[in-house]
Each structure stands twice: as C-alpha cells, then as structure tokens.
C-alpha cells in the first residue's frame, strides 16, 4: 500500500511500487487528464506537480511519491480558471489539445517560481513539452499573458 495526496485528497493504492505514477493516476485513480505520450520523459504530456515541482509521471515510480502531494490538471483549479488556463483560453492555444494538460502544468510550475518569465525562461521550462500541432507561438504568448493576469491579482 502506498499513500499520497492527490488534488488535495489522501489516497491509498495497492499497486507494485515500481509502477509508473502515470498509470496509477490514469488507470487506478481514473484521472485521465494526464496523458501518455512516450514513456521515456521525452514529450511532457504526462507532467504533474509533485510537491509543486513539475515531474514526468511516465518515469516516476509510484513509490517515489509516498507521503507527497501530487497535483494533476484536474486539481490545478476548481473551475478551470487558473491564470494559465484563462490565458490559454484568451489566446486560443489548444488545437488537438492532447499535450495541453502537460503544457499547462509545466507553465503553471514556471510561473510559480518565476512570476515574470523571459522568453529564455520559457524556452528552458517548456522545451520538454512537445506539441505536434505546433501551438508553441501561442503557448509563449499565453505564458506572458498568464504572468500579466497573475500580477493583476488573479491568484
């Protein structure tokens, strides 16, 4: 049994300790907003926050999160109104949308540590997240917009 907190709720799971957190989140806990894309931490679609920091769940054994706090896209905000999500809507970022939960979790983690990221900061924080539809230009614009929204008082 491994116990951890996910989106504010304590959960206990009976799974092999080496099982990647991704499959625990998606299949054991049924939270499918976190996606599978590569299984090798190469694409970022499986990104969640572990004690606030972005991690790739496809290579994180569930044993590594025992006693820790996991936040998935479903737990980022109550109403989908985190500044990053608001900015994503304003800028019309998503196309197919499959990579966007991972992009948003990476962006939210960036803004938590760097409230006014430069383009270079964005490159550093976001280059682990692939978008095959090619929404990078809008992601960049939306991160700057989210930074402004956050400063404007939106959480």
């Amino acid at each position: 049994m491994i116990t951890f907190t996910i989106n504010g709720r304590r959960r206990q799971v009976d799974v092999p300790p080496e099982m990647p957190l991704l499959w625990v989140i998606r299949e054991t806990l049924g939270l499918t907003g976190t996606k599978y894309g590569c299984g090798m931490a190469l694409c970022g679609v499986c990104t969640v926050h572990l004690d606030g920091a972005p991690v790739r769940t496809c290579v994180t054994p569930v044993s590594a999160v025992a006693g820790k706090k996991v936040t998935t896209i479903e737990g980022l905000s109550d109403k989908g109104d985190h500044p990053v999500q608001r900015a994503w809507t304003e800028v019309d970022v998503p196309q197919c949308g499959f990579c966007q939960p991972g992009q948003i979790m990476s962006a939210a983690a960036l803004l938590a540590t760097k409230p006014s990221p430069t383009d270079a900061d964005i490159d550093d924080a976001m280059s682990g997240n692939i978008c095959r539809c090619g929404t990078y230009q809008r992601i960049r614009a939306a991160i700057h917009r989210a930074a402004a929204l956050k400063k404007g008082g939106a959480r």
Binding site: C38, L42, I73
Partner: protein, 715 residues
C-alpha cells in the same frame, strides 16, 4: 460550452452497452432522430441540427475534431445561417452512419485532405437556412402575416411592424409540421454574423481542464487493456508463440493471437506491458525483411535512369534540353516520415453476438463501421462507432489498423478491450510518407528564363498501394504540386516511376505536396540564382497564368519586406505552392552558425484560402503547419534496416520544440473565392523557403531532407 465528446456522453454510451443493450447505437440514434421529426417538442428538420422547446440548438458535427477546430467551425457555419446564438448551441459528434453523414464530395464518412469546411460548407448552410425559413414560416403562420415580413435574429423570429417576437423554442411545434424547403435562400456574406469573424474555439474549456475524452481516456465498465506484440518487420506473421511466462504476470488475463500480432490482455496497461515483455513470439518475417534504406536508395537511383510514365507533357522539353544551351540538372531526395500524433494509436471495442461498439479517435468513422461489420459478421447498423477527440490526426488516423486490433481482441476475449499502442509501436508500425528520388533538368534562354523543364519522380504511390488507384496508372498523390506546378514554361515534361518496396504508405499532412513543394520550389530557386535573378521576381514573372499563386507570393514578399536589409548573417528564402484548395507563399528568415546549425528566426506566410470562415483558426493552422514542416526540415527521417524501422521514440525521431520555434506571421488574402482547405496547405512551402534562405546565407544548396548541418559547416 457543451460538446458531444464530454465524459458523460461517452460514458453514457459505455454504460448502456455494459447494461446489456443489444441494439446498435447508430440505429437508436438514427431512429430517434427520424422519430423526432414527429415528436412534439423537438424540431429536427434534418440530420445536422435540432432545436428543443427551451431553444437549445444541437448541432451534429460529422467531421472528427483532430485539432483543426471542426467543433467550432461547424457550429459557426450552422448557427450563422440559422440565426442562432452560438453560445446557446450544443455540438455533438456524429455517429458512424454514412447514409446520413458521408462527405458529399468523397461519398465516404472519412475525413482527410483538409476537406472539413470546403466540402460541407454549402450543404451545412443550406441545412441551416432551410431550418431558419421553416421557423420564420411558423412565426408568420402564428401571427397571420406574410413570411416576407418576418425576420430572424439571435434565436428568435420577429415582426418589426408590430413589434412581435417569438423565440425559436416557442416555434418548435409549429415548425416541425412544415415541409422542408428544397432551395432555401442563403445569406449574403454581408449578413454573416459568425462566418469570417474571429470566434474563440469552443472546445478549449474541456481541453485545458483534462475533461476532454480522447481515445485513450475511454473507460467502459468491465474493460480490459491490451498491448500487442507486433512483428518488427512489415508484413511479418506470427509463426508460433509461448505465453507461459506472460500469463504468469499478475493482472494478465488473456494472451490471444490477432492479425497484427499477439495481444496481451490485462486489467491495466502496466501489467499488459509486463506480460508483453515476457511473451516469446517466433515470426515469419516475410519478404520485406530483405529491404533496407540502402536497397531502396539503390533501386530508386537505378529506376531513375529509365523513362517513366508521363504525367504531363507540353511542348517538347526533351528536344529543347537535348539542344544544349544553359541546361541545369539536380537530384532531390526526401525520406520516409511518420506522423507521430501526440496521442499514440489506440481504440476500444466491445463485441457481443448482437452488436459491436467502438470508441476510437478516428478520422474514418464510416470505414471503421464497415471494417467492424466485416470482422464481426454483423450488419453495419449493428456497429456503433463513437468518435472521441483525436490527439492529432495528420492522416494517420484515417487508417483502420489500430481499430482492427481492438475489434479482434475484444471479440477474442468476449469483454470490452482498450488496445493501447506504445510510442515505439506507433513509430515502428506507421503508414509512412513516401521516400522519393527526383531528377530535374531545365534549360534557360538568354535572359535566364526557363524554356524547358523536366522532372522524373521515383517513389511509391500511396493510392496505388492502397488499391485506391489502378496499378500502372499515375498516382495522383505522388505527382501533386509537380504536375500542376504554377510556372508558365513552354516545354514541360513530368514523369513518374512507381517504385514500391513494400513499406506501408500513408497520407501525411499535405501528402505529395509535402515533398513536392520542397523539390519544385528549391529547383526553381536554383534556376533563379543561375539566371542571376532575384528569386521572388523570377517566380513572379513566371506566374502570369496563376493569379492566386501570384497574389500570395506578392503579399508574403511585401509583408516580409523582401529585399530590405537584414541584420548581418541573416538571409531570406521564398516559396509558393497550391495544395488542398488553398494557395500559400512563405518567406523564411534564417541564419546559419559556423557549425552549420540553422536557426529560423521568422516565417512570413500569406494564404489565400478563399473565404476564411474563422480567421483565427486559419492562422492557427498555418502556425501548426509550419511546425509540422520544420520538424520534417530539420529532423524527420525514418530509415529501414532489414524491413524494420530503426527509429522508435522522440529520442531518435525528434520533434521541433518551443526553443526552436520561429515567429510565424500569417497574412490572409481574401480573394472572395469559395473556402479552401486549411489543415494541410501550411506545410509545403516551409522546407523550400528555409532551404532557399540557407542557400542565400551560405551558397550551399540543400537537395536532401532533413538538413544535414555537417554539409553547412564552415568551421
């Protein structure tokens, strides 16, 4: 925002099946829809829309949402002609039912070729305009006034003279008694309320919260999850397998042979993958095991020495070229490419003796239904296809292989099964953009203008391989954007040689134009430089018979300040092409580092898509097409060794990332023509614009993709 691909809608389908419902879903849906025409309380004049007494408009979108924005655009078009309020519109995804939802141009309920808007625009408008006229007539009857005096706006009919107003919801019962008009009057463009305006995407809320349901997110009660071990060699078959160790893995329930390999079925993907690792399979690798990239290259080169089939012949290019003068020759090569949708292939199916239900991220609901009917022996109407959101399509999801996996596995184990592909499965078992080898020859007159042009293309034909064109004919997909290239050259000969060595082929975003835009626009650039002319002016002078090409070329050049000085080390390149109904020109600004690394700083693109239904999504598709094309320009290459794909994941089949993203500046030219395509046209001009800029910067001509930085190295 409510779309039909909510978790609840899909789960409802799943639960109904789990509860033992034995009637195929499409039958239920279609029957319900027909019945609604007579059911009080719902006005359903056709298969595309219905309105209830609360005034809620439900639009049925037949085009799968794969990122192109079909949920939004379809709603915009119908809401506009209906005079409905877009915010009060629900949209749901159409079931597989080709009789009702086939593409009127192709005749199939399958979507590719950037055909969403351009093939359905008139039909959807007519469907909505007819409904609007019926609602207006219902109001006229209610008020006892001539219908000509009734106007509609914002979900209501009104009689301006008397100030009377009725909401659509209040007209539902009267309207549904009226005959459906055969030739309703369409709005004139000045009356458009949504079409041509910037409308935010309506699927964003579910895509930024994790609520949207993609294929891999489908959960059906009692469902098992499978992973399939496939022959590493294309076309190979299972000779025998030993599942003893696989079955010992905790959670593994079944190991079954299916046509694409051996399926390990478990209570989750993780145990299925462990079981798959423990599986021992002996393969009959078949003839493709003799094929490697080196073999393919050799065969192409040998074939290129022979005459090809004539795809186009005007004047006498061979004679002019044999006559001497300034003749230039070059060979261009492109590799196989995989689509690499962000969502790896997957599908879910349940097969009972009475019905088959499929949940799939598919571009091809109609083909899925027909395939499953064949595999299960059920009539098509007993096969329900629920199209989920697609995590990318790009042509890959028009194929049925991954759905065959699910249907066969579910049938074999008698339970609902989700088949999940790994990224490695996805890269190594794709349907690839053909590798090609292309010989060009041109003769220039004293002024440097081309008087003869010869292209011989060698490569496989997608349509022929798939049996959609006859062997021995010219494969239209192989020669597109060459056969119809825009330049006015008196003597023109285009040949094609079909050389198919058994690598599975597929339609890859912009298909033949994806490589042919590169080869034609690079070679014309070579001629411009050979003639000592400006590459923009050189093209422009040859576009006398192609005004829409010329229009976008001029717009792109103007917006990119073609000819104006650039910062030191930067250079521009230009390219123009037609594909999938739209005209695009791109100017690239690049610099090349001493180590040969190419940096694209900016792409200025001009597109003439005819009527731009949603301009913001036109820009989004162009931005996306640019990224797809840049990945192919810098990274994309699938190589084959003894019938096996040598790449397997994003480490050896890399994608462009945000740190390499140039500014993409999109300009829309409103030509007033009918809508063209958007998903694909952004791709073909990017590689040539970049490579032409590389030439301008370095004097080195890139004739083979992806760009090899070693060939551009100066230090």
């Amino acid at each position: 925002m409510k779309t039909g691909i909510s978790r609840r809608a899909l789960l409802k389908g799943g639960l109904a099946v789990g509860a033992g419902l034995s009637i195929g879903f499409p039958v239920v849906q279609a029957a319900r829809r027909v019945a609604r025409a007579q059911t009080p309380g719902v006005f359903a004049p056709n298969q595309w829309l219905r309105i209830d007494r609360d005034g809620v408009v439900t639009i049925v979108n037949s085009v799968p949402e794969m990122g192109q924005g079909s949920l939004t655009t379809t709603s915009m078009i119908i809401a506009d002609e209906l005079d409905a309020v877009l915010d009060n519109v629900r949209v749901e995804q159409a079931p597989a039912n080709p009789a009702l939802y086939k593409n009127p141009v192709t005749g199939n309920q399958a979507y590719g070729g950037s055909r969403g808007v351009r093939d359905h625009f008139d039909m959807w408008r007519k469907a909505a305009a007819g409904a609007r006229e019926m609602l207006a007539q219902a109001a006229a009857n209610e008020w006892g006034v001539p219908v000509e005096s009734v106007e509609t706006e914002a979900g209501a009919a009104l009689h301006r003279a008397t100030g009377r107003r009725l909401l659509y919801g209040q007209l539902v019962d009267r309207a549904q008694q009226l005959p459906v008009p055969q030739n309703p009057t369409l709005k004139t463009p000045d009356k458009f309320r949504y079409i041509g305006k910037v409308v935010h995407r309506r699927d964003t809320p579910e895509k930024i919260t994790g609520r949207g349901v993609y294929g891999m997110d489908v959960q059906v009660p009692g469902m098992l999850v499978a992973s399939i071990e496939r022959c590493p060699v294309f076309g190979g078959k299972v000779k025998s397998f030993d599942a003893t160790a696989a079955k010992r893995v905790k959670g593994v329930k079944h190991v079954v042979q299916v046509s694409n390999g051996v399926a390990v079925v478990a209570d989750g993907l993780w145990p299925a993958l462990q079981g798959r690792k423990a599986l021992r399979v002996t393969w009959d690798e078949g003839p493709t095991a003799q094929v490697s990239s080196a073999t393919i290259t050799r065969e192409y080169e040998a074939a290129a020495k022979q005459p090809g089939q004539v795809a186009k012949n005007e004047g006498d290019a061979e004679k002019v070229l044999a006559g001497g003068g300034r003749v230039h020759e070059a060979v261009y090569q492109v590799p196989f490419l995989e689509h690499a949708c962000m969502e790896p292939m997957n599908a879910t199916a349940q097969v009972t003796p009475e019905a088959c239900v499929i949940w799939a991220p598919t571009q091809n609901p109609g083909g899925t239904q027909a395939m499953a009917a064949k595999l299960t022996g059920l009539p098509p109407e007993k096969v329900t296809v629920n199209t989920t959101l697609l995590g990318g399509g790009f042509g890959r999801r028009g194929e049925l292989d991954f759905i065959v996996d699910a249907v066969e596995t579910a049938k074999a184990v008698g339970k609902p099964v989700k088949v999940m592909w790994t990224r490695e499965d996805d890269i190594t078992h794709g349907f690839y953009r053909p590798a090609t080898h292309n010989v060009f020859r041109a003769a220039l007159d004293a002024n440097g203008a081309p008087v003869a042009w010869f292209t011989r293309m060698v490569g496989p034909g997608i349509l022929i391989q798939k049996g959609r064109a006859q062997a021995g004919t010219i494969d239209a997909a192989a020669v597109e954007a060459v056969r119809n290239m825009p330049y006015d050259i008196q003597n023109l000969r285009i040949e094609w040689i079909n050389k198919d060595l058994g690598i599975p082929l597929g339609f890859w975003r912009s298909v033949g134009a994806s490589q042919n835009g590169f080869i034609v626009e690079s070679f014309i650039d070579e001629l411009a430089h050979l003639a000592g002319k400006d590459p923009y002016e050189y093209r422009r002078a040859l576009l006398g018979k192609s005004p829409r090409h010329k229009g976008v070329l001029e717009l792109a050049a103007t917006k990119a300040s073609w000819g104006a000085p650039l910062p030191p080390g930067r250079a521009r390149g230009i390219a123009v092409a037609f594909s999938y109904g739209s005209y695009v020109a791109t100017v690239a600004e690049v610099s090349v580092a001493p180590d040969g690394a190419v940096r694209v700083h900016r792409l200025v693109a001009a597109i003439d898509p005819g009527l731009a239904v949603n301009p913001e999504q036109v820009r989004a598709q162009m931005e996306g097409g640019a990224v797809y094309a840049l990945t192919a320009t810098f990274y994309g290459r699938i190589t084959i060794d003894r019938g096996r794909v040598q790449q397997s994941n994003f480490n050896d089949y890399p994608m462009l990332r945000i740190n390499e993203m140039p500014v993409v500046d999109v300009h829309i030219l409103d030509s007033g023509e009918a809508p063209g395509g958007l998903g694909e046209p952004g791709v073909p001009t990017v590689a040539p614009a970049v490579c032409n800029a590389v030439y301008a910067a370095t004097g080195k001509r890139v004739r083979s993709l992806p760009i090899d930085r070693n060939e551009l190295r100066r230090a």
